[in-house]
Symmetry: C2
DNA sequence: CACAACTGAATTGTGCGCAATGCTTTTGAG
DNA sequence: CTCAAAAGCATTGCGCACAATTCAGTTGTG
């Protein structure tokens, strides 16, 4: 991924992966102060986004959407639970599965989160078309393993 | 960053930031098995990339290039030191600064790392032009705060 | 039914990332 | 020269990511 003179190991700034790494961290930095007001981290916010789409999903279903495993999700969900945004309960039909449900407080965050979206959109200098292009290229990059 | 129906908080898959978040993690996943053979993590590899460009930089100079602070770099450099890839020593001209130098072993990794680059390039299905486009959009996205 | 194989989640251990704090050294204003 | 402010790095604490392991529960096969 270098595109630099062939004898080098690839200059840092030339690398696509470093650009992605930096951009992803910059995005989280932008989210941080806004999500702090909601008492959320960015990965916690992503989990809520999935639950707002459909409540009551299992841990592994959330993991499929976010590409995260139980090692990441279990403690994250415990913290969301402790903060009163979700509940977790074993399913009676299959006691291996844990269903995650939003609390009233968890539902209530949704409208406040919509403002976060608008704030961030305003901060970006890229055009809508460029953002869509960036999103689609990122998705195809991630999908090509790498 | 939603581009979904306006009443929603933004579907997960519509979000640019989630696409970046996923792509950056996918990139690290692709690097992991290759860098494992070199005894490196991806952030450690980034530090070496910077040092291969110019040896003997200070901690803060490395931080400027990678957008990382001493809280991240200090323990990371300690591990690179313990693995024998670098040395750290206080500068005599300014005892606040710590100069980071490559060891012979650290230099030797450079050619092996070049192969890592080629392996990854082969795995990507995007065209060279698309990769350059993704890199530049990512950089502009990160640069726009967010 | 018995029991091995599998599934889903939690736990453990390591290494970032980052805010906050502490500490040594240097700089600079008076 | 003095001493307060700043710079540079290290440390602490917390929350991801992720590999590896463990464990309870379920499924499938004989």
């Amino acid at each position: 991924m270098s595109f630099a003179h062939p004898e080098s190991a690839g200059r840092l700034e030339d690398q696509v992966c470093f650009a992605l790494y930096s951009a992803a961290r910059a995005a989280q930095q932008a989210y941080r102060p806004l999500l702090d007001d909601l008492g959320l981290t960015y990965p916690q916010y992503l989990v809520l986004l999935v639950l707002w789409e459909q409540d009551g999903q299992t841990v592994s279903a959330l993991g499929d959407r976010l590409h995260l495993d139980s090692g990441t999700l279990s403690p994250l969900l415990r913290r969301l639970d402790e903060h009163g945004f979700i509940t977790r309960e074993r399913q009676s039909t299959d006691a291996r599965r844990v269903a995650v449900h939003l609390t009233a407080e968890g539902h209530a965050l949704r409208s406040r989160a919509a403002e976060v979206q608008r704030c961030l959109l305003d901060a970006v200098t890229l055009s809508t078309e460029e953002l869509l292009n960036l999103r689609d290229l990122s998705r195809r990059f991630a999908g090509s393993d790498v």
